[in-house]
Amino acid sequence: MTLTPFLRKFWLTLHVALSVGFLGAVAAFLALGVNGLISQEPQTVRGVYLAMELITWSIIVPLSFASLVTGLVSSLGTVWGLFRHYWVLLKLLLTVLVAIVLLLQAQSIGYLASVVDERVLSGADHYALRISLVVHAAGGLLVLLVITTLSVYKPQGLTRYGWRTLREQGTKPRA
């Protein structure tokens, strides 16, 4: 099914807005994570991990799945397809990877939020877990930047499936 030009732009606008919002939310999550790691103020540390849990479930997780769904609609509803071009396929794989790691990390942040809700967290408390959140957030941000770059540059390259499909349609493949 091919979307009409109006619907194609509508879904594309939605996809770009949600994806960029997702990237920004992860950047905010990273800033909070670093703050929670270096701050000496117990109240700041408490507020940081509670805020991280809040933005994880109210913003980051919904945006990640919304970005994935709008991306699927945008690719399947246009000539780009989902498995025809390497850049689209890589975007899909990287987005799914980010979503899986995000859900695993959400358990950690939920646990830390429950800890700070009950008692004061000192500088050394759960240090490995807190570093892990920062490292995974930084890695996630990097992957999202790669995804954004792929979307903007759209590097050429057809998959074997894309090549075959275009040949069957009688269109000359570009690369």
Binding site: Q107, S108, R119, S122, L129
Partner: protein, 72 residues
């Protein structure tokens, strides 16, 4: 009837991308296997039953000693 060119394979940027991802995955495996990154896996993210009683999750107890004067 014209002969159509065969599929030319993946472009260079895809191969470079694959190599970079492979190296990063290998690096992550080494870091995890060496224990530098601490315990990993889904179990690490799930608080144990002890945690609900105020104890700490497995693998994080070395970092969890509360300083004097801090109540739990």
């Amino acid at each position: 009837m014209t002969d159509r060119p065969p599929y030319g394979g993946a472009p260079r940027w895809v191969k470079v991308f694959g190599i970079v991802v492979g190296v990063l995955v290998l690096l992550a495996v080494v870091v995890i296997a060496a224990g530098i990154a601490g315990p990993h896996g889904p179990g690490r993210h799930i608080p144990s039953a002890d945690a609900d009683r105020g104890a700490l999750p497995v693998g994080d107890s070395e970092n969890s000693a509360a300083p004097a004067g801090v109540s739990r």
